[in-house]
């Protein structure tokens, strides 16, 4: 990759080609993030006040909770990730986005799909499979939208001017292949008229969820971090060799996690996942090492800027990843399974890792593609502190509370209700964290929306100016 080439002639054209697609992808994504966090907050409040909004079937806990998760994952992480990928592909290819209309159409299809999906869940049309709750119509829209974005990304990649591949390419390219495969498999098998028999259903669901939340988010998040960290630090990625090693071990080992140790399935399945989880520690450490070596000693004042977001994200990736794989250790799973621990880990992955990296990338990318600074740069910094503090406050009590809960279940003298009551104390703190996270996401929403509106006003103004201006002398025929 040629670091200095962005200032070349094509740079302006490149950014302009991405303006509308990225606004469409990011704009919707940011709304879904806020929607998901609000739904998550509603779900959490129900634990403190079970009768809160309970009269309305649309907002019963069992619908709001999965809708909240899906809004954050499918509404925010995926489309925002796709937008960031398109930008990185164009940058690395050193050419404008290919087929720029296609991702604009895709973004609208995608957000429509999420709308249909969330509406479906709240209306009771959830499929009942974890992380695949969206009804069929929504899944079809999302799948088609992904293919369209992938088409544009692949075309940009295929017609690249800079032929050399960069580590981010491996990760992001694999991510493009991953999602259509896992999403089509899972939906064709689980969201069809004839479901597979019995426990094959959850097995496929676990395989899918692991490949999406652990592997896909890692491909997208680390691919993005490996582009921005060296860029912002003004140096090159520390070690391509380790990065390649991390990439290969991630896709070969990480894909085998996912089957809980207590699952009522033939014993070889959880055993395969336990082994995969153990080996997945290797890519976590290798990728952490690359990131560490890249940024250590870099003299960048970050103060809540994009660099902070992305560093926090990478740190979250490693820590949440280690906790994630530890759940597949047979000894720990006896205590951790079915407690709040697993929920906490997932939220850390979604918000602390993927969410942080994506927000950092959006703050870095948007001013470039829009050709103007952020409207509220201070809010962007507050966003970091709210979000980082919020995620930790949200997740850490869940982790500790989960362990505590698991230990109490083990003790026959403690009634179930008492063990749950202990967990409630931890939930109280974690709900405060959720509030902070929501506050942070509102800062992002404000920035993105004011920017969009300014741009639209600018467009209107220039059209008006064009219509009302007297003809230029050169255009007047003699």
């Amino acid at each position: 990759m040629n670091q200095t080439a962005n200032k070349s002639d094509c740079s302006g054209e490149l950014e302009a080609s991405l303006r509308v697609p990225l606004l469409a992808l990011f704009g919707g994504a940011v709304i879904w993030l806020v929607v998901g966090l609000v739904l998550g907050l509603i779900a959490a409040i129900k634990f403190h006040a079970p009768e809160f909004l309970s009269a309305c079937p649309l907002l019963t806990y069992g619908r709001v909770a999965p809708a909240a998760n899906d809004a954050v994952l499918y509404g925010f992480c995926l489309p925002a990730g796709l937008g960031v990928m398109l930008w990185i592909f164009a940058r690395l290819s050193q050419r404008p986005l290919a087929l720029p209309v296609v991702p604009v159409v895709a973004a609208h299809l995608w957000h429509l799909g999420v709308l249909v999906g969330l509406g479906g869940i709240l209306a009771g049309e959830s499929t009942g499979h974890l992380w695949l709750e969206f009804p069929r119509a929504a899944a079809v829209l999302i799948f088609a939208a992904f293919l369209l974005v992938a088409l544009s990304a692949a075309a940009t990649f295929g017609w690249r001017r800079e032929r050399n591949l960069y580590p981010s390419h491996w990760f992001l390219f694999a991510a493009l292949l991953w999602f259509p495969w896992i999403y089509s498999t899972a939906n064709l098998l689980l969201v069809s008229h004839t479901l597979p028999r019995g426990v094959v259903q959850p097995v496929i669901g676990w395989w899918f969820a692991n490949n999406l939340i652990f592997v896909w988010l890692a491909l997208m998040g680390i691919g993005t971090a490996f582009y921005f960290l060296p860029k912002i630090a003004g140096r090159s990625l520390a070690s391509s060799g380790y990065a390649l090693f991390g990439f290969l071990t991630l896709i070969f080992f990480g894909t085998w996690c996912g089957i809980p140790q207590s699952a009522p399935v033939p014993a070889w399945l959880p055993a395969a996942s336990a082994l995969g989880a153990l080996l997945s520690v290797i890519p976590l450490l290798a990728l952490a090492l690359v990131a560490k070596k890249t940024v250590s000693g870099a003299n960048v004042a970050c103060l809540g800027g994009p660099f902070c977001f992305i560093k926090f994200g990478v740190l979250s990736f490693v820590l949440s990843g280690v906790l994630y794989v530890s759940q597949f250790c047979p000894r720990y799973s006896l205590i951790l399974d079915f407690t709040w621990f697993g929920f906490g880990v997932t939220q850390w992955q979604l918000l602390g890792f993927a969410g942080m990296i994506l927000m950092g990338a959006i703050y870095e990318i948007l001013p470039k593609v829009m050709g103007q600074p952020l409207p509220f740069p201070k809010l962007a910094r507050w966003n970091f502190f709210f979000f980082a503090g919020g995620v930790l406050l949200f997740v850490i009590p869940l982790l500790i509370g989960g362990v505590e809960q698991g230990m109490q279940w083990h003790d026959a003298r403690v009634p179930f209700a008492d063990a749950s009551a202990v967990a409630l104390k931890f939930l109280r703190v974690s709900t405060t964290g959720q509030l902070l996270v929501l506050l942070g996401s509102l800062c992002l929403l404000l920035n993105v929306f004011v920017m969009t509106i300014q741009w639209k006003l600018g467009l209107v103004k220039s059209v008006l100016a064009y219509l009302t201006s007297p003809l230029a002398a050169s255009e007047v025929k003699p």
């Binding site: 019963t60 390419h169 694999a174 896709i251 207590s262 399945l269 026959a412 749950s420």
Partner: protein, 294 residues
Amino acid sequence: MKTGISIFIAAFVALGASWCGLVLAPSLQLGGAKETVVLQSADHWPQQRTGDATLGLQVYRASGCAACHTEQIRQTGVATEVTVTGLGAHQPDDFGAFVKSLFILPTLVEYTNAIAASLQGWHGELPRTLLTSANQQVVSEMANRLKAIGVKSETRIVPQGDDIIARGWGYRQSVAADYLYDQPVQLGGLRAGPDLSNIGVRMPDANWQWQHLYAPKSVVKTSTMPSFKFLFEVRPVGHVPSPDALKLAADFAPGPGLEVVPKPEARQLAAYLLSLKANVPLYEAPFTPVTAVK
């Protein structure tokens, strides 16, 4: 990784391998699963649900009960226990002395404390569990010694694990066969509430289920389960009060002249909950039903 093709191949092989291992192989192994036979019986397992209970599963799915409830019992192993059921010609005291005389047996050395504890404060009440061990040989040795002196005993297979022993949520671990007819399977991943694999055995009364769904706090004071009032209809009492009307305490009743009756969804959901029973021993998950001892 110099070219797009090599990334593509690496990703394809990696994901393809896990697809074959975790999607294709389980589908082939379990996709054709059939009913199994209940241990020491000719009954088949699992049984098809009734129409109402089948519909009730859809209410369970649509309401997202699985966000808070699992349907899955875990087990860490099985133990065998020997329970004395008849002393024959012996008196409790001399039986106790006999048992203590066995403590010199090398097989029992590890268990002397546990056995002594099981006879603590015992005055001859039967049945009495004498010894529990994961080692079947130890247990059968004990059973043989008892038989030799004419004491009647039974050996039972008792699954171990917190869900079964500490929580009392089930009789044995859940196995793949239990879910054969579930569409969709609702294993659940979080236990904000108790496991429901055996709720049909634990709470076999549809009226209790309705009352609990309508107002959880009316039956479990400290409950944090949200109410599902929208599955019920509040209506004026007719000439004859509806036989299904919930008998609610004053705090939870809708007011004078009104009654609460379950909508069809609530009926179906209760039928489904009552159908949740994993209380028969299977080849892959054996246990000795408790009734055999009593």
